[in-house]
Symmetry: C2
């Protein structure tokens, strides 16, 4: 399912479990964007701090479509398809795929929801819900989180349907034999997305693994 | 409607129109948070860049409830009240008020939607829609924007109902005789919200006006 060697996959897994970020670039001709990626099980407030300072994009939680469905969530593009007004807002972005957004949430225990500590708490609690043995996950989710909040949940439709960062990093979790529970943010430069060369430079100067979409999905 | 002198209001209006941010602290005992605030009509990609680097919170567009209603939008707390599952996610945050979120949008012309240039473009187009003479604003909005996107729209319920940053800055626009079209982001410190003292220091060292909720709403 990928071009990555067994050794590369083990290095990726080691970094994810250690709370070390990876840099994942999608494809030339698509978004042409590099995302900073953490494993949801290794998030601390310092990871959120790094995501907002060194990446700068939207800090999102990524899981699979089935995992999200198990806690009661659906794509907003699906939810709003039948809304008398909002259905007209559902359009394909310029890069071609429908957005992966499901819901913006906070854990009930947070203060304002936006600080590094609060966002890390929301994500940690969501990760625990996704990976713990809980009988009724939907009920647990609805009781312990609220919306609208400050952490967007993105869900992977699978790489056969969409080739965005959401699907790439969900697949990366699978390759590393980890639950689909990842945290991503776009790396931004001055004005525009950080270009590929600068994202590679950032990765090498911080000793981070740099991956591109073609390595992750090449059969 | 406020404790501010005529001269203070004129200085606030001058800074807003110049694209200079203000720092607005809410209240001791509420969120205890300082937001960086720009006027929507003076946003450039450099303002978005400053909001994400020096403030660090969620970069949101603020308008009034009536203005939002004119383009077809409603509070998500209202929209989801009748949803079979999502209604259970509607809860009051720890600071007491229901969230002001309506919709996350992008302008149709943007690339990925998240870069400084893209977010500034979405906001500029939204500001123009809000302030230009357009016969059918709802139709124009639905044709020229899509959702879910990267710029959250917050709407003021009015200071008699809610005393959050959304209502404070919408009221500030009124005091300055400007349309309710503002852009805000929470100022974050290491881990937590930036404390009041540090927010005041930031304001004074950057020659920015610092306001607190009590000055804005004192009758």
């Amino acid at each position: 399912m990928s071009d990555l060697s067994r050794e590369s996959v083990l290095n990726i897994k080691r970094d994810l479990l250690n709370g070390t970020p990876l840099i994942v670039y999608d494809f030339d001709g698509r978004e042409e964007e590099a995302d900073m990626v953490f494993y949801g099980g290794a998030i601390s407030w310092k990871s959120i701090n790094l995501l907002r300072k060194d990446a700068g994009g939207l800090i999102c939680y990524v899981t699979g479509k089935e995992e999200a469905s198990a806690i009661g969530l659906n794509f907003l593009t699906e939810e709003w398809k039948t809304h008398p007004i909002y259905r007209d807002l559902i359009k394909r972005p310029s890069y071609g795929d429908y957005p992966s957004f499901m819901m913006w949430i906070n854990h009930v225990s947070v203060s304002t929801g936006i600080s590094d500590i609060d966002r890390a708490k929301t994500i940690k609690e969501l990760h625990n819900l996704m990976t713990d043995h809980i009988t009724n996950k939907e009920e647990f989710f609805l009781n312990n989180f609220y919306a609208p909040g400050h952490v967007p949940i993105l869900a992977s439709r699978g790489l056969d349907i969409r080739r965005g960062h959401t699907e790439l990093v969900a697949h990366l979790a699978e390759l590393a034999d980890l639950p689909k529970s990842m945290v991503i943010a776009e790396m931004l430069g001055e004005g525009k997305s950080l270009d590929r060369r600068k994202a590679e430079l950032y990765a090498s100067s911080h000793n981070l693994i740099f991956l591109e979409g073609n390595e992750i999905i090449k059969e």
